[in-house]
Protein backbone atom coordinates (compact mmCIF):
# COMPACT_ATOMS: atom_id res chain seq x y z
CA UNK A 1 0.00 0.00 0.00
CA UNK A 2 2.63 2.53 1.11
CA UNK A 3 6.36 2.29 0.58
CA UNK A 4 8.95 4.76 1.77
CA UNK A 5 12.39 4.18 0.30
CA UNK A 6 15.43 5.96 1.73
CA UNK A 7 13.27 8.98 2.47
CA UNK A 8 15.03 12.05 3.85
CA UNK A 9 13.93 15.51 4.80
CA UNK A 10 16.45 18.01 6.06
CA UNK A 11 15.64 21.42 7.51
CA UNK A 12 18.89 23.34 7.12
CA UNK A 13 21.38 21.17 8.96
CA UNK A 14 18.75 19.23 10.88
CA UNK A 15 18.00 15.79 9.51
CA UNK A 16 14.40 15.47 10.63
CA UNK A 17 14.00 12.28 8.66
CA UNK A 18 17.13 10.54 7.47
CA UNK A 19 17.12 7.60 5.07
CA UNK A 20 13.88 6.06 6.30
CA UNK A 21 12.64 2.78 4.81
CA UNK A 22 9.10 1.81 5.74
CA UNK A 23 6.51 -0.47 4.23
CA UNK A 24 2.83 -0.60 5.11
CA UNK A 25 1.01 -3.55 3.52
CA UNK A 26 -2.67 -3.70 2.59
CA UNK A 27 -4.92 -4.04 5.59
CA UNK A 28 -2.15 -3.63 8.12
CA UNK A 29 -2.06 -1.38 11.15
CA UNK A 30 1.48 -0.13 11.55
CA UNK A 31 2.62 1.91 14.53
CA UNK A 32 5.24 4.62 14.23
CA UNK A 33 6.72 5.53 17.59
CA UNK A 34 9.72 7.39 18.89
CA UNK A 35 10.72 10.14 21.33
CA UNK A 36 9.70 13.75 20.73
CA UNK A 37 11.41 15.22 17.69
CA UNK A 38 12.32 11.84 16.25
CA UNK A 39 10.68 12.61 12.90
CA UNK A 40 7.28 10.93 13.21
CA UNK A 41 5.15 13.94 12.34
CA UNK A 42 7.57 14.95 9.59
CA UNK A 43 7.08 11.52 8.08
CA UNK A 44 3.31 11.98 8.07
CA UNK A 45 3.72 15.43 6.52
CA UNK A 46 5.95 13.98 3.80
CA UNK A 47 3.39 11.32 2.93
CA UNK A 48 0.56 13.87 2.76
CA UNK A 49 2.64 16.32 0.72
CA UNK A 50 2.84 19.18 3.21
CA UNK A 51 6.64 18.94 3.08
CA UNK A 52 8.63 18.05 -0.01
CA UNK A 53 11.25 15.33 0.05
CA UNK A 54 14.93 16.16 0.29
CA UNK A 55 15.67 12.77 -1.21
CA UNK A 56 14.15 9.30 -1.52
CA UNK A 57 10.90 7.96 -2.88
CA UNK A 58 7.36 7.53 -1.62
CA UNK A 59 5.14 5.08 -3.46
CA UNK A 60 1.45 4.67 -2.78
CA UNK A 61 -0.17 1.64 -4.40
CA UNK A 62 2.85 1.36 -6.66
CA UNK A 63 2.71 4.97 -7.87
CA UNK A 64 5.38 7.55 -7.06
CA UNK A 65 3.43 10.29 -5.30
CA UNK A 66 6.24 12.74 -4.57
CA UNK A 67 5.30 15.11 -7.43
CA UNK A 68 1.57 15.18 -6.57
CA UNK A 69 0.09 18.15 -4.70
CA UNK A 70 -1.73 17.47 -1.46
CA UNK A 71 -5.29 17.49 -2.76
CA UNK A 72 -4.36 14.95 -5.45
CA UNK A 73 -2.94 12.59 -2.84
CA UNK A 74 -6.28 12.64 -1.15
CA UNK A 75 -7.99 11.64 -4.36
CA UNK A 76 -5.66 8.69 -4.54
CA UNK A 77 -6.97 7.62 -1.13
CA UNK A 78 -4.77 9.05 1.61
CA UNK A 79 -6.36 10.82 4.57
CA UNK A 80 -5.07 11.93 7.93
CA UNK A 81 -5.94 13.41 11.28
CA UNK A 82 -3.84 16.01 13.06
CA UNK A 83 -2.01 16.01 16.36
CA UNK A 84 -3.42 19.48 17.06
CA UNK A 85 -7.01 19.17 15.88
CA UNK A 86 -7.82 21.07 12.68
CA UNK A 87 -11.56 21.10 12.23
CA UNK A 88 -13.54 23.68 10.29
CA UNK A 89 -14.59 25.34 13.53
CA UNK A 90 -17.30 27.62 12.15
CA UNK A 91 -18.99 24.85 10.20
CA UNK A 92 -21.41 22.44 11.83
CA UNK A 93 -20.57 18.82 12.48
CA UNK A 94 -22.69 17.83 9.50
CA UNK A 95 -21.05 20.41 7.23
CA UNK A 96 -17.56 19.30 8.27
CA UNK A 97 -18.34 15.86 6.90
CA UNK A 98 -20.23 17.15 3.87
CA UNK A 99 -17.42 19.33 2.52
CA UNK A 100 -14.96 16.47 2.98
CA UNK A 101 -16.81 14.17 0.57
CA UNK A 102 -14.43 14.77 -2.28
CA UNK A 103 -13.38 11.28 -3.31
CA UNK A 104 -13.41 10.65 -7.08
CA UNK A 105 -16.47 8.43 -6.61
CA UNK A 106 -18.33 11.19 -4.79
CA UNK A 107 -17.32 13.78 -7.35
CA UNK A 108 -18.51 11.59 -10.19
CA UNK A 109 -21.90 11.24 -8.50
CA UNK A 110 -22.43 14.98 -8.32
CA UNK A 111 -23.74 16.94 -11.25
CA UNK A 112 -22.63 20.49 -11.91
CA UNK A 113 -25.22 22.06 -9.69
CA UNK A 114 -24.91 19.76 -6.76
CA UNK A 115 -21.14 19.98 -7.03
CA UNK A 116 -21.15 23.69 -6.40
CA UNK A 117 -24.46 24.60 -4.96
CA UNK A 118 -25.77 21.80 -2.82
CA UNK A 119 -28.13 18.90 -3.14
CA UNK A 120 -27.41 16.68 -0.18
CA UNK A 121 -29.17 13.60 -1.52
CA UNK A 122 -27.14 10.47 -1.98
CA UNK A 123 -24.46 11.53 0.46
CA UNK A 124 -26.83 11.83 3.38
CA UNK A 125 -26.83 8.14 4.30
CA UNK A 126 -23.07 8.09 4.43
CA UNK A 127 -22.90 11.10 6.71
CA UNK A 128 -25.52 9.57 8.98
CA UNK A 129 -23.56 6.35 9.26
CA UNK A 130 -20.32 8.24 9.94
CA UNK A 131 -22.07 10.23 12.65
CA UNK A 132 -23.31 7.03 14.25
CA UNK A 133 -19.90 5.44 13.97
CA UNK A 134 -18.35 8.32 15.89
CA UNK A 135 -21.19 8.77 18.36
CA UNK A 136 -21.95 12.31 17.18
CA UNK A 137 -25.43 11.82 15.72
CA UNK A 138 -27.05 14.01 18.40
CA UNK A 139 -24.55 16.81 17.74
CA UNK A 140 -24.91 17.11 13.97
CA UNK A 141 -26.02 20.75 14.00
CA UNK A 142 -23.49 21.99 16.57
CA UNK A 143 -20.59 24.14 15.41
CA UNK A 144 -17.45 22.05 15.47
CA UNK A 145 -15.70 24.58 17.69
CA UNK A 146 -18.36 24.08 20.37
CA UNK A 147 -17.68 20.37 20.74
CA UNK A 148 -15.82 18.89 23.69
CA UNK A 149 -12.23 17.84 23.06
CA UNK A 150 -12.94 14.12 22.74
CA UNK A 151 -15.84 14.81 20.37
CA UNK A 152 -13.60 16.99 18.21
CA UNK A 153 -11.12 14.13 17.89
CA UNK A 154 -13.95 11.80 16.89
CA UNK A 155 -15.23 14.30 14.34
CA UNK A 156 -11.79 14.69 12.83
CA UNK A 157 -11.55 10.94 12.38
CA UNK A 158 -15.04 10.88 10.85
CA UNK A 159 -14.07 13.71 8.49
CA UNK A 160 -11.02 11.77 7.35
CA UNK A 161 -13.32 8.79 6.73
CA UNK A 162 -15.68 10.96 4.69
CA UNK A 163 -12.95 11.31 2.06
CA UNK A 164 -13.15 7.52 1.58
CA UNK A 165 -9.46 6.78 2.12
CA UNK A 166 -7.64 3.54 1.58
CA UNK A 167 -4.77 4.61 3.81
CA UNK A 168 -5.43 6.52 7.00
CA UNK A 169 -2.66 8.36 8.84
CA UNK A 170 -3.46 9.02 12.48
CA UNK A 171 -1.17 11.57 14.11
CA UNK A 172 -1.34 11.05 17.88
CA UNK A 173 -5.09 10.41 18.03
CA UNK A 174 -4.97 9.53 21.72
CA UNK A 175 -3.19 12.68 22.90
CA UNK A 176 -5.04 14.13 25.87
CA UNK A 177 -7.50 11.25 26.18
CA UNK A 178 -8.31 9.35 29.36
CA UNK A 179 -8.04 5.60 29.43
CA UNK A 180 -11.76 5.02 28.87
CA UNK A 181 -11.62 7.17 25.71
CA UNK A 182 -8.48 5.36 24.60
CA UNK A 183 -10.39 2.07 24.94
CA UNK A 184 -13.15 3.43 22.69
CA UNK A 185 -10.59 4.71 20.20
CA UNK A 186 -9.01 1.26 20.06
CA UNK A 187 -12.39 -0.31 19.27
CA UNK A 188 -12.94 2.25 16.57
CA UNK A 189 -9.56 1.70 14.97
CA UNK A 190 -10.11 -2.05 14.92
CA UNK A 191 -13.53 -1.54 13.30
CA UNK A 192 -11.89 0.59 10.60
CA UNK A 193 -9.52 -2.23 9.85
CA UNK A 194 -12.47 -4.59 9.46
CA UNK A 195 -13.77 -2.21 6.81
CA UNK A 196 -10.56 -2.79 4.88
CA UNK A 197 -8.57 0.30 5.78
CA UNK A 198 -4.82 0.37 6.10
CA UNK A 199 -3.65 2.49 9.00
CA UNK A 200 -0.40 4.17 9.95
CA UNK A 201 -0.62 5.16 13.60
CA UNK A 202 1.77 7.73 15.05
CA UNK A 203 1.37 7.65 18.79
CA UNK A 204 3.02 8.17 22.15
CA UNK A 205 0.40 6.35 24.17
CA UNK A 206 1.81 2.82 24.44
CA UNK A 207 -1.45 1.44 25.78
CA UNK A 208 -2.98 2.13 22.35
CA UNK A 209 -0.02 1.30 20.12
CA UNK A 210 0.70 -2.05 21.76
CA UNK A 211 -3.00 -2.94 21.68
CA UNK A 212 -3.90 -2.38 18.03
CA UNK A 213 -0.85 -2.58 15.80
CA UNK A 214 0.43 -5.53 13.81
CA UNK A 215 3.87 -4.05 13.48
CA UNK A 216 5.74 -1.15 15.00
CA UNK A 217 8.60 0.93 13.61
CA UNK A 218 10.64 2.99 16.05
CA UNK A 219 12.27 6.25 15.02
CA UNK A 220 15.04 8.13 16.76
CA UNK A 221 16.83 11.18 15.30
CA UNK A 222 15.04 10.59 12.01
CA UNK A 223 16.29 7.04 11.59
CA UNK A 224 14.55 3.75 12.09
CA UNK A 225 16.19 2.01 15.02
CA UNK A 226 13.88 -0.99 15.31
CA UNK A 227 10.94 -2.68 13.64
CA UNK A 228 8.89 -5.68 14.73
CA UNK A 229 5.75 -6.93 16.43
CA UNK A 230 4.63 -5.13 19.59
CA UNK A 231 6.05 -7.96 21.69
CA UNK A 232 9.44 -7.76 19.99
CA UNK A 233 9.57 -3.98 20.32
CA UNK A 234 8.84 -4.12 24.03
CA UNK A 235 11.95 -6.26 24.52
CA UNK A 236 14.26 -4.37 22.16
CA UNK A 237 17.32 -2.93 23.84
CA UNK A 238 17.83 -0.07 21.37
CA UNK A 239 14.26 1.06 21.88
CA UNK A 240 14.63 1.08 25.64
CA UNK A 241 17.79 3.07 25.29
CA UNK A 242 16.10 5.65 23.07
CA UNK A 243 13.15 6.03 25.42
CA UNK A 244 14.80 5.75 28.81
CA UNK A 245 18.17 7.28 27.98
CA UNK A 246 21.50 5.46 27.85
CA UNK A 247 22.15 5.32 31.59
CA UNK A 248 18.71 4.17 32.59
CA UNK A 249 18.82 1.36 30.06
CA UNK A 250 22.27 0.33 31.26
CA UNK A 251 21.18 0.44 34.88
CA UNK A 252 18.13 -1.60 34.12
CA UNK A 253 20.15 -4.09 32.09
CA UNK A 254 22.67 -4.37 34.91
CA UNK A 255 20.21 -5.10 37.67
Amino acid sequence: MLELERVSRHFGGVRAVDGLDLKVRDGEIVGLIGPNGSGKSTTVNLVTGLFSLTSGQIRFRGQDIAPLPTHMRLQGGIARTFQNIRLFGQLTVWQNLWVAQNSPADRAKRGFFSRWLGGQSGVRDEIVSLLEFSGLAHKQDELASNLAFGEQRRLELARAMATKPKLLLLDEPAAGMNSEEIGQLRERILKLRERGLTILLVEHVMELVMGVTDRIAVLNFGQKIAEGTPAEIQKDAAVRKAYLGGDAAAAEGGS
Partner: protein
Protein backbone atom coordinates in the same frame (compact mmCIF):
# COMPACT_ATOMS: atom_id res chain seq x y z
CA UNK B 1 -34.87 66.32 14.66
CA UNK B 2 -36.45 65.13 11.43
CA UNK B 3 -33.42 66.43 9.58
CA UNK B 4 -31.26 64.30 11.79
CA UNK B 5 -33.29 61.12 11.25
CA UNK B 6 -33.38 61.92 7.56
CA UNK B 7 -29.58 62.15 7.53
CA UNK B 8 -29.22 58.83 9.30
CA UNK B 9 -31.68 57.19 6.93
CA UNK B 10 -29.98 58.48 3.77
CA UNK B 11 -26.64 57.46 5.21
CA UNK B 12 -27.77 53.93 5.93
CA UNK B 13 -29.24 53.54 2.45
CA UNK B 14 -25.94 54.66 0.93
CA UNK B 15 -24.00 52.65 3.52
CA UNK B 16 -25.11 49.40 1.90
CA UNK B 17 -22.59 50.19 -0.85
CA UNK B 18 -19.86 50.46 1.76
CA UNK B 19 -21.04 47.10 3.05
CA UNK B 20 -20.61 45.59 -0.39
CA UNK B 21 -17.10 47.00 -0.77
CA UNK B 22 -16.24 45.95 2.78
CA UNK B 23 -17.45 42.42 2.06
CA UNK B 24 -15.13 42.30 -0.95
CA UNK B 25 -12.09 43.29 1.11
CA UNK B 26 -12.99 41.07 4.04
CA UNK B 27 -13.80 37.95 2.02
CA UNK B 28 -10.42 37.99 0.30
CA UNK B 29 -8.76 38.57 3.64
CA UNK B 30 -10.72 35.75 5.23
CA UNK B 31 -9.78 33.25 2.56
CA UNK B 32 -6.19 34.26 1.78
CA UNK B 33 -5.16 36.43 4.74
CA UNK B 34 -4.11 39.07 2.25
CA UNK B 35 -5.41 42.56 1.55
CA UNK B 36 -6.40 43.33 -2.01
CA UNK B 37 -5.70 47.06 -2.15
CA UNK B 38 -6.78 47.26 -5.79
CA UNK B 39 -10.34 46.18 -5.00
CA UNK B 40 -12.14 49.53 -4.94
CA UNK B 41 -10.21 50.83 -7.96
CA UNK B 42 -11.05 47.68 -9.91
CA UNK B 43 -14.70 48.17 -8.93
CA UNK B 44 -14.77 51.67 -10.36
CA UNK B 45 -12.88 50.31 -13.39
CA UNK B 46 -15.61 47.70 -13.82
CA UNK B 47 -18.26 50.41 -13.58
CA UNK B 48 -16.43 52.31 -16.33
CA UNK B 49 -16.14 49.26 -18.59
CA UNK B 50 -19.82 48.61 -17.92
CA UNK B 51 -20.70 52.15 -18.99
CA UNK B 52 -18.57 52.01 -22.13
CA UNK B 53 -19.76 48.58 -23.24
CA UNK B 54 -23.40 49.49 -22.61
CA UNK B 55 -23.06 52.62 -24.75
CA UNK B 56 -21.30 50.56 -27.42
CA UNK B 57 -24.41 48.36 -27.47
CA UNK B 58 -26.48 51.54 -27.74
CA UNK B 59 -28.26 50.55 -24.56
CA UNK B 60 -27.71 53.31 -22.07
CA UNK B 61 -30.31 52.18 -19.53
CA UNK B 62 -28.94 51.99 -16.01
CA UNK B 63 -29.87 48.32 -15.69
CA UNK B 64 -27.88 47.30 -18.78
CA UNK B 65 -24.93 49.29 -17.44
CA UNK B 66 -25.28 47.43 -14.12
CA UNK B 67 -25.30 44.08 -15.88
CA UNK B 68 -22.20 44.93 -17.93
CA UNK B 69 -20.42 46.24 -14.82
CA UNK B 70 -21.20 43.02 -13.01
CA UNK B 71 -19.58 40.92 -15.73
CA UNK B 72 -16.63 43.30 -16.04
CA UNK B 73 -16.18 43.12 -12.28
CA UNK B 74 -15.90 39.35 -12.37
CA UNK B 75 -13.35 39.48 -15.18
CA UNK B 76 -11.30 42.18 -13.46
CA UNK B 77 -11.41 40.22 -10.20
CA UNK B 78 -9.95 37.24 -12.03
CA UNK B 79 -7.24 39.40 -13.65
CA UNK B 80 -6.28 40.97 -10.33
CA UNK B 81 -5.99 37.50 -8.81
CA UNK B 82 -3.92 36.24 -11.72
CA UNK B 83 -1.53 39.18 -11.86
CA UNK B 84 -1.23 40.20 -8.23
CA UNK B 85 -1.57 36.88 -6.43
CA UNK B 86 -1.18 33.85 -8.65
CA UNK B 87 1.93 34.95 -10.51
CA UNK B 88 3.58 36.38 -7.41
CA UNK B 89 5.08 34.11 -4.76
CA UNK B 90 2.68 34.25 -1.84
CA UNK B 91 5.32 33.30 0.66
CA UNK B 92 6.38 36.91 1.03
CA UNK B 93 3.65 38.75 2.94
CA UNK B 94 4.50 42.13 1.48
CA UNK B 95 4.79 41.05 -2.14
CA UNK B 96 1.04 40.91 -2.75
CA UNK B 97 0.48 44.08 -0.75
CA UNK B 98 2.86 45.89 -3.07
CA UNK B 99 1.46 44.25 -6.19
CA UNK B 100 -2.10 45.25 -5.30
CA UNK B 101 -1.06 48.81 -4.43
CA UNK B 102 0.64 48.88 -7.81
CA UNK B 103 -2.54 47.60 -9.39
CA UNK B 104 -4.54 50.29 -7.58
CA UNK B 105 -2.30 52.99 -9.07
CA UNK B 106 -2.32 51.35 -12.48
CA UNK B 107 -6.14 51.10 -12.49
CA UNK B 108 -6.28 54.75 -11.44
CA UNK B 109 -4.00 55.71 -14.31
CA UNK B 110 -5.94 53.64 -16.82
CA UNK B 111 -9.27 55.16 -15.82
CA UNK B 112 -7.92 58.69 -15.85
CA UNK B 113 -6.30 58.07 -19.25
CA UNK B 114 -9.46 56.57 -20.72
CA UNK B 115 -11.69 59.34 -19.39
CA UNK B 116 -9.03 62.02 -19.98
CA UNK B 117 -9.61 62.88 -16.35
CA UNK B 118 -13.10 64.23 -16.96
CA UNK B 119 -16.14 63.00 -15.03
CA UNK B 120 -18.38 60.76 -17.13
CA UNK B 121 -22.15 61.04 -16.91
CA UNK B 122 -23.58 57.93 -15.36
CA UNK B 123 -27.21 56.89 -15.87
CA UNK B 124 -29.45 57.10 -12.82
CA UNK B 125 -31.91 54.37 -11.94
CA UNK B 126 -34.88 56.27 -10.60
CA UNK B 127 -34.33 59.90 -11.43
CA UNK B 128 -36.22 62.51 -9.47
CA UNK B 129 -38.41 59.98 -7.73
CA UNK B 130 -39.11 60.62 -4.07
CA UNK B 131 -40.84 58.30 -1.65
CA UNK B 132 -42.54 60.32 1.07
CA UNK B 133 -43.61 59.22 4.53
CA UNK B 134 -45.06 62.22 6.30
CA UNK B 135 -42.12 64.48 7.10
CA UNK B 136 -39.61 61.96 5.85
CA UNK B 137 -38.62 61.26 2.30
CA UNK B 138 -36.35 58.83 0.53
CA UNK B 139 -34.53 59.48 -2.74
CA UNK B 140 -35.65 56.88 -5.24
CA UNK B 141 -32.16 56.10 -6.48
CA UNK B 142 -30.95 55.54 -2.92
CA UNK B 143 -33.79 53.10 -2.40
CA UNK B 144 -32.60 51.26 -5.51
CA UNK B 145 -29.05 51.28 -4.14
CA UNK B 146 -30.36 49.82 -0.92
CA UNK B 147 -32.49 47.19 -2.63
CA UNK B 148 -29.76 46.01 -5.02
CA UNK B 149 -27.18 45.88 -2.24
CA UNK B 150 -29.46 43.89 0.04
CA UNK B 151 -30.22 41.40 -2.73
CA UNK B 152 -26.50 40.99 -3.51
CA UNK B 153 -25.59 40.58 0.13
CA UNK B 154 -28.36 38.04 0.67
CA UNK B 155 -27.24 36.09 -2.40
CA UNK B 156 -23.67 36.08 -1.13
CA UNK B 157 -24.70 34.93 2.34
CA UNK B 158 -26.78 32.12 0.83
CA UNK B 159 -23.79 31.12 -1.25
CA UNK B 160 -21.39 31.17 1.71
CA UNK B 161 -23.59 29.49 4.29
CA UNK B 162 -25.84 27.17 2.34
CA UNK B 163 -23.94 25.86 -0.66
CA UNK B 164 -21.17 23.36 -0.94
CA UNK B 165 -18.98 25.90 -2.73
CA UNK B 166 -19.49 28.46 0.02
CA UNK B 167 -18.80 25.95 2.76
CA UNK B 168 -15.61 24.90 0.95
CA UNK B 169 -14.59 28.57 0.76
CA UNK B 170 -15.12 28.97 4.49
CA UNK B 171 -13.35 25.68 5.18
CA UNK B 172 -10.29 26.90 3.27
CA UNK B 173 -10.42 30.17 5.21
CA UNK B 174 -10.59 28.37 8.56
CA UNK B 175 -8.10 25.54 7.97
CA UNK B 176 -6.27 25.73 4.65
CA UNK B 177 -4.14 22.65 5.27
CA UNK B 178 -6.94 20.44 6.49
CA UNK B 179 -9.07 21.67 3.59
CA UNK B 180 -6.46 20.51 1.09
CA UNK B 181 -6.30 17.18 2.84
CA UNK B 182 -10.05 16.91 2.40
CA UNK B 183 -9.54 17.31 -1.34
CA UNK B 184 -10.41 20.98 -1.71
CA UNK B 185 -8.32 22.91 -4.21
CA UNK B 186 -7.12 26.06 -2.57
CA UNK B 187 -6.17 27.75 -5.86
CA UNK B 188 -9.66 27.11 -7.23
CA UNK B 189 -11.34 28.50 -4.12
CA UNK B 190 -9.06 31.56 -4.21
CA UNK B 191 -9.88 32.22 -7.87
CA UNK B 192 -13.60 31.92 -7.25
CA UNK B 193 -13.36 34.23 -4.26
CA UNK B 194 -11.80 36.90 -6.46
CA UNK B 195 -14.36 36.45 -9.22
CA UNK B 196 -17.27 36.60 -6.77
CA UNK B 197 -15.92 39.63 -4.91
CA UNK B 198 -15.18 41.19 -8.31
CA UNK B 199 -18.81 40.77 -9.33
CA UNK B 200 -19.92 42.40 -6.07
CA UNK B 201 -17.41 45.20 -6.69
CA UNK B 202 -18.68 45.79 -10.22
CA UNK B 203 -22.21 46.16 -8.91
CA UNK B 204 -21.09 48.38 -6.04
CA UNK B 205 -19.05 50.57 -8.38
CA UNK B 206 -21.96 51.01 -10.77
CA UNK B 207 -24.31 51.76 -7.85
CA UNK B 208 -22.01 54.48 -6.53
CA UNK B 209 -21.51 56.13 -9.90
CA UNK B 210 -25.24 55.96 -10.51
CA UNK B 211 -26.07 57.48 -7.11
CA UNK B 212 -23.45 60.22 -7.55
CA UNK B 213 -24.51 60.77 -11.16
CA UNK B 214 -21.04 60.59 -12.64
CA UNK B 215 -17.99 58.38 -12.83
CA UNK B 216 -14.78 60.12 -11.93
CA UNK B 217 -11.26 59.14 -11.04
CA UNK B 218 -11.81 61.00 -7.77
CA UNK B 219 -14.00 58.15 -6.54
CA UNK B 220 -11.32 55.45 -6.25
CA UNK B 221 -9.26 56.95 -3.43
CA UNK B 222 -12.09 57.66 -0.97
CA UNK B 223 -13.77 54.37 -1.81
CA UNK B 224 -10.58 52.42 -1.08
CA UNK B 225 -10.22 54.21 2.24
CA UNK B 226 -13.89 53.72 3.21
CA UNK B 227 -13.73 50.07 2.21
CA UNK B 228 -10.67 49.48 4.38
CA UNK B 229 -12.24 51.33 7.31
CA UNK B 230 -15.39 49.23 7.03
CA UNK B 231 -13.27 46.08 6.88
CA UNK B 232 -11.33 47.00 10.01
CA UNK B 233 -14.41 48.12 11.95
CA UNK B 234 -16.26 44.97 10.97
CA UNK B 235 -13.31 42.82 11.91
CA UNK B 236 -10.93 41.46 9.27
CA UNK B 237 -12.47 38.42 7.66
CA UNK B 238 -15.96 38.85 9.13
CA UNK B 239 -18.72 39.15 6.52
CA UNK B 240 -21.52 39.98 9.02
CA UNK B 241 -19.12 42.53 10.55
CA UNK B 242 -18.54 44.20 7.18
CA UNK B 243 -22.29 44.45 6.56
CA UNK B 244 -22.98 46.15 9.89
CA UNK B 245 -19.86 48.31 9.69
CA UNK B 246 -20.86 49.53 6.22
CA UNK B 247 -24.24 50.69 7.54
CA UNK B 248 -22.58 52.23 10.58
CA UNK B 249 -20.01 54.16 8.55
CA UNK B 250 -22.64 55.24 6.02
CA UNK B 251 -25.05 56.42 8.73
CA UNK B 252 -22.45 58.20 10.85
CA UNK B 253 -20.83 59.80 7.82
CA UNK B 254 -24.10 61.49 6.97
CA UNK B 255 -24.62 62.54 10.58
CA UNK B 256 -21.15 64.12 10.67
CA UNK B 257 -21.94 65.82 7.39
CA UNK B 258 -25.26 67.03 8.77
CA UNK B 259 -23.70 68.60 11.84
CA UNK B 260 -20.24 69.60 10.65
CA UNK B 261 -20.47 69.90 6.87
CA UNK B 262 -18.94 67.92 4.06
CA UNK B 263 -15.44 69.32 4.52
CA UNK B 264 -15.05 67.94 8.05
CA UNK B 265 -17.00 64.72 7.51
CA UNK B 266 -14.14 62.36 6.64
CA UNK B 267 -12.00 63.52 9.55
CA UNK B 268 -14.55 62.15 11.96
CA UNK B 269 -14.81 58.91 10.03
CA UNK B 270 -11.05 58.54 10.43
CA UNK B 271 -11.33 59.21 14.16
CA UNK B 272 -13.97 56.48 14.28
CA UNK B 273 -11.43 54.12 12.74
CA UNK B 274 -8.88 54.92 15.43
CA UNK B 275 -11.48 54.57 18.16
CA UNK B 276 -12.14 51.05 16.92
CA UNK B 277 -8.47 50.18 16.52
CA UNK B 278 -7.85 51.20 20.12
CA UNK B 279 -10.97 49.96 21.89
CA UNK B 280 -12.22 47.13 19.70
CA UNK B 281 -9.27 46.07 17.57
CA UNK B 282 -10.96 42.81 16.66
CA UNK B 283 -13.95 44.58 15.12
CA UNK B 284 -17.62 44.83 16.01
CA UNK B 285 -18.26 41.14 16.51
CA UNK B 286 -14.93 40.22 18.09
CA UNK B 287 -15.33 37.98 21.11
CA UNK B 288 -13.97 40.05 23.97
CA UNK B 289 -11.19 42.54 23.60
CA UNK B 290 -7.79 41.63 22.44
CA UNK B 291 -5.16 41.97 19.86
CA UNK B 292 -3.94 38.64 18.71
Amino acid sequence: MFDFIQAVLDGILFGTIYSLIGIGFTLVFGVMHKINMAYAAASIGAAYIGLVSASAMKAASAWVVFGCSLVAGGVLGFLVYLICFHLIPLRNENATLMSTVGMLLLADELISHATTGAPQNYPATLEDVMFRFGEMSMRGDLVVVFGVSVVCTAALLLLLYRTRLGLATRAVAQQPIAAQLCGMRVAQVNTLTFVITGVLGGIAGALICSAVGSLSILLTGPLTVKGLIVTVIGGLGSVPGAIVAGLLVGGLENVFQHFRGVTERDMYVMLLLFAFLIFRPGGIFAKGQGRD
